[in-house]
Amino acid sequence: MASTRWPPGDDVIEIVRGPEPGGAGGAYRAFGETLRGLKTTFSRLLEGPRTRQYPEDKVPVYPRFRGRHKLHRFEDTGLEKCVGCSLCAAACPADCIRVVAAENTPDNRVSAGERYAAVYEINMSRCIFCGYCEVACPFDAITMGHDYELSDYNRDDLIFTKEMLLAEPLERTPLRAPGE
């Protein structure tokens, strides 16, 4: 609510208006301003383009960038970290993760725990890349990667299977160096 006090105190700022438009003076000022604008655009020309030539020159992402998911294995044993607990699927707000668990047997040992994920699918066309799956996972089996080039011609191709998520992405996205 503006103050209705009158006369106004010192806190009221006087409005500075430009000169009246039109007339010979207006035309003169418009001409001058046009020249100033021409100078501005020309200096932009001299500075050179600032755009990135995208497919050839990819912008590096930050380490915390949430891109395509990755499933992980233990580096020493090669066993999958995922134990098929479906906590990621429960946490997923977009409901795009499907996990079907199966028991590990001594002659078919896939994961380190009792059970493993027989089916692990993420529907990338539904995923909102919120990272809740990563937070929910008790074994750090799923993390968000750095890859964002996920377009495809077919919706079915956007359902990523366990093998695709375990494998390294075909094209690596550059990571921002510290301080960059």
């Binding site: 039109g22 010979a24 035309a27 046009t34 604008g37 021409l38 501005t40 655009t41 020309f42 932009r44 020309l45 500075e47 050179g48 383009p49 600032r50 755009t51 030539q53």
Partner: protein, 340 residues
Amino acid sequence: MSVLAAVDYYEPWWIQIVKSLAIFAVVFGIVPLLTVLERKLIGRFQQRYGPNRVGPFGLMQPLADIVKLATKEQSRPTTSIGLLFALAPVISIITAVAALAIVPFGGVQDIFGTPVGLYGIDVGIGPLYLFAFGAVAFYGFMLGGWASGSKYSFLGAMRAAAQLISYEVAMGLSLLGVVFTAGTLSLVGIVEAQREMWFVVPQVVGFIVFLCSAFAETNRTPFDLPEAESELVQGYQTEYGGARFASFMLAEYLNITVLSGIAVTMFLGGWLLPFGIHPPGWVDPLVVLAKILIFICLFIWVRATVPRLRYDQLMSFGWKVLLPLATLNALVTAIVVVLA
């Protein structure tokens, strides 16, 4: 003196045909390059690259554009008037090409023993010819906009009409000073009269007025009201597509080339170089083309800088600023010419 009598009598008829074909071919080769030049330059002014994917440096972009436009389906609204709708782009192109004929690319040269004027025709009424075809070109916009049977097109056509009457008088008067000083209406004669000094120096006011009117004549920013994209979709071109739209675009770029050529001829010394440099005759057309190109870059520079004027701003600018300036310039020039 009729127009035909002013056509150079010393040239055999086949030379007239050959040189008109040559000018036509050269300029039609340049126009597609202009479109890519414009897009690339605008890109640079906005700190981006512009088209650079089709061919080396994006130079094949106009080819892709033309193929795309030419293979598109011709369609028109059911409310349109077929004959006029089809006729409008034709009028635009024909008038632009006709105006191109008077741009001189050089003086009379001796080519294999035959004297050849390096211009389409050297008419005795020079600028009047230009204005005549400029006014007829306006029928292209007007008929196109009206015959489309669309509100946007119609508004664009009305704006074109309002714009035409606001700047064309000033444009004519701005060239009067040059004509007074040169003492001739022949464009070749006007260039020859600039041996001592380009007319841009004594006629700087006329040059600026002509420049502003030229932006209006070619429907370019800041005076692109007839095709204001943000308000009128594409103005009188709204309902056009495919090859007809391409014809309108071609006519627009041809008009830019022609007006740059006229500006170069009237104010920037045509094929003459400053500081008494006299290159051999075959360089003349290249000099003119280079000057035209620089002038077109100025067009593009202004387009990248100045936003579109409002409708009433253009009218008041044309009537209250350009017209008095041009009249004063013509008056002062006339007095100086008579006294000197």
